[in-house]
């Protein structure tokens, strides 16, 4: 994980998962990346811990003993606990995703998943609370994106982008400093929830990169190996 940027802000994460091995693996991995991770092995325990503890993100498996994942989320939301929830599920299909999100989940990750994907999504969820949604202008280094006028400036030069490229850059800049995976881009920028056979996202990114970074000494759009992409001002 040497490529990965360890954030100064530590997250408190609760993992509600009955598969002991899977849970241990996630807990260990989160702790290694500098976060606090707790584990609950069934729905009841998980619900109690989620109600008591002050967690930044909950990771909830759908199928749990005693109380299933969706019901745990429903109960939390009924009690006005708005902690972001990421649902893990072996049923990784669109209709299940819709069900999960409708039940109050904020994100949905089908098993099997890679830890880098999980980490990236959890970080995005944890930061959403203090998110940049209300900002109208995103700035990273000398790159500036105006969400109202749809204008993008790099330094003093205007960058002309296609509508989709604009949305891609907007998403990346909204999560500046965070790893954004290819699947997240596909879901949030294109609204597709399937795996394309070829990595089409990489080509879109390299196009975008040639528009915003080409000819500038300081590259802003970085590839995080084995994980995804990140837009970041190196100086920061």
């Amino acid at each position: 994980m040497s490529d990965h940027v360890v954030h100064s802000d530590t997250m408190r994460i609760l993992i509600i998962e009955d598969d002991r091995d899977a849970a241990d693996y996630i807990v260990r991995a989160f702790r290694e990346t500098g976060h606090v991770a707790d584990h609950a092995a069934d729905g009841e325990e998980g619900l109690a811990m989620a109600l008591d503890g002050d967690y930044d993100v909950l990771i909830v498996d759908r199928m749990l003993p005693k109380r299933d994942g969706l019901s745990v989320i429903g109960e939390l939301r009924a009690k006005k606990v708005e902690t972001p929830v990421l649902i893990l599920s072996a049923l990784g299909q669109v209709d299940d995703r819709v069900k999960g999100l409708r039940a109050g989940g904020d994100d949905y990750l089908p098993k099997p998943y890679s830890f880098s994907e999980l980490l990236a999504r959890v970080e995005v969820l944890a930061r959403r609370r203090g998110g940049r949604n209300e900002e109208t202008v995103y700035r990273v280094g000398d790159l500036e994106l105006d969400r109202l006028s749809h204008r993008v400036m790099r330094g003093t030069e205007e960058v002309v982008l296609q509508p989709r490229e604009f949305r891609l850059l907007e998403y990346l800049m909204k999560h500046a400093g965070q790893v954004v995976t290819r699947t997240m881009l596909l879901e949030n920028v294109w609204d597709y929830h399937f795996d394309p056979q070829t990595n089409v996202i990489d080509v879109h990114i390299s196009r975008l990169r040639s528009k915003i970074d080409k000819g500038f000494a300081q590259p802003l759009l970085h590839t995080v190996r084995g994980a995804g992409y990140m837009i970041r001002d190196n100086i920061r």
Binding site: G92, Q93, V94, D95, V98, P110, P112, S114, R164, W190, Y192, H193, F194, D195, P196, Q197, T198, V200, V203, H204, S206, R207, R225, G226
Partner: protein, 492 residues
């Protein structure tokens, strides 16, 4: 005996028997009713005739006296086939008439009496006849008896009863024989079916039920069962092929994965080398997971699970979106990607799945057309179109690649089938079968056509999804249809 017992236990025989009982009872009742009514009618007529005669003769007596009466009775008695007459003195001595003998006491009984008698001209040994008689007491003690012979009535009654008995017996015998033959015929054919079923249960799926060719209900049943067997056989064959392919196509990358890990362990290298080996291992696992996801997706589409997410959307827009997603990739591969979707194409379906199917087709088109384009050094185009044709929505992806020979097209949509030429190109071999499964989920099909040169893959989707009909038996047939990749798409 057991064969006969089996015969008697057949539905056909039991039905025959039941109908026979009902029919015989009905016939017996009808004939009995007829016989009784005829008898009653006859008796009524006799009574009437006797009453009229008595009234007439009494009048004669009243107006002209006993002498006149005896004259008239004598005259009437002599007519052939006449009624019975007897006039007696108050002591019972016969004065006139044709009655020879009567049981004692008949003359004293008032009203109508059925009695036996002998005519005067018959000897003592002659047979007794039956008659209906009435005795009128005349003034001054004379008695007048008038009667009518009942032999005719009894004969008719006997005839009718006999006819009834014999015809009922004939009905029963013929019915039993008929039932026996019908049952035997049905039994023979059912036995043939049972025989076939046993062969099939024994593992030989090629057995088929004989069809007699008469077009009756048993033939229809046999025909349908045979069709079902064809279907099952094809499904089983498909299943076997698929599992063979899965075994082969998953074994290869798994072996590669294992070998690479082993190699990394064996050759002690630097940390960077270990890291690189691990990274490739992860990459290969990811591609395996992708393959499994695609398989699951196909299974989901084929089981009809995704039916729940059908919405109305513009297929032209979906095509443009996919075109936009793949345009940079095509460009990078030296191809141009054009989308021809001038007008909105409303469609009811699962947008995500249809987009995925289109993405797979475009992905394939780029994969296969790119080497050809590079070899020729000429610009080559992948064209995505969205349009309508009658009640169908057509979404097509055409390329200028090598295409698929007509003979291979049906096979190309099967799971894991990667035609020989394409072995060198990476991919799970599931793209076309996923597209085909999605098309079937929507009640349509995937057509592979010659783009001369190249391949034109067309998703033909009915604009209005044929509704699944839960109440009608065709509903279960739908997933069965979908579950059979090899039969769904005929060569174009």
């Amino acid at each position: 005996m057991s064969a006969l017992g089996k015969l008697f236990r057949t539905t056909a025989f039991k039905l025959t028997l039941a109908y026979l009982v009902v029919f015989a009872l009905f016939a017996a009742f009808l004939l009995g009713y007829f016989a009784l009514n005829t008898r009653r009618l006859f008796t009524e007529q006799a009574t009437q005739a006797v009453d009229i005669e008595i009234a007439g003769l009494s009048d004669q007596f009243n107006s002209a006296g006993i002498r006149r009466l005896t004259q008239v009775v004598d005259a009437r008695s002599r007519r052939p086939g006449s009624n019975l007459y007897l006039v007696t003195t108050p002591n019972g001595d016969g004065l006139a008439g044709n009655v020879g003998s009567l049981p004692t006491g008949v003359l004293e009984k008032p009203g109508l009496t059925e009695t036996i008698y002998r005519r005067i001209e018959e000897g003592e040994t002659a047979e007794l006849h039956r008659a209906l008689v009435r005795v009128a007491q005349l003034p001054s003690g004379f008695k007048l008896l008038v009667g009518r012979d009942l032999d005719e009535r009894d004969r008719l009654y006997d005839v009718v009863l006999d006819a009834g008995k014999w015809s009922t017996a004939a009905v029963i015998v013929l019915g039993l024989i008929g039932g026996f033959f019908v049952a035997r015929r049905v039994l023979r054919r059912v036995d043939a079916m049972t025989e076939t079923t046993r062969t099939i249960m024994g593992g030989d799926l090629s057995g088929r039920i004989p069809v007699a060719g008469s077009g009756d209900e048993l033939d229809r049943l046999a025909h349908n069962l045979n069709e079902m067997l064809d279907r099952i056989e094809a499904l089983m064959r498909g299943l076997k092929e698929v599992s063979d392919n899965i075994a082969h196509d998953l074994k290869t990358p798994l072996t590669r994965l294992r070998n690479r890990a082993e190699e990394a362990l064996r050759i002690s290298g630097s940390e960077a080398e270990y890291r690189a080996a691990l990274e490739t291992t992860i990459e290969e696992s990811d591609s395996l997971i992708k393959t499994f996801n695609a398989l699951l997706m196909i299974a989901r589409a084929e089981s009809g699970h995704a039916r729940g997410n059908m919405i109305d959307f513009d297929a032209a827009e979906a095509a443009r979106d996919i075109g936009e997603l793949y345009e940079p990739l095509a460009d990078e591969q030296g191809l141009s990607l054009d989308v021809e979707a001038p007008a909105a194409v409303p469609l009811h379906g699962n947008r995500e799945l249809i987009s995925q199917a289109l993405a797979n087709l475009v992905d394939n088109a780029i994969k296969y057309a790119a080497p050809a384009a590079k070899a020729n050094g000429e610009p080559s185009a992948v064209t995505v179109t969205a349009g309508t044709e009658g009640d169908n929505v057509l979404l097509s992806v055409a390329d200028r690649g090598p295409g698929i020979p007509e003979a291979d097209r049906a096979r190309a949509v099967e799971r894991f089938v990667r035609l020989e030429k394409s072995r060198s190109i990476p991919g799970s071999g599931l793209g076309l079968s996923l597209a085909a499964a999605v098309a079937r989920l929507h009640g349509g099909e995937l057509r592979l056509e010659d783009n001369a040169p190249g391949l034109r893959a067309v998703l033909v989707l009915p604009r209005l999804l044929p509704l699944p009909q839960p109440a009608i038996s065709s509903a279960p047939a739908e997933p069965a249809e979908a579950a059979m990749p090899q039969s769904g798409t005929a060569p174009a």
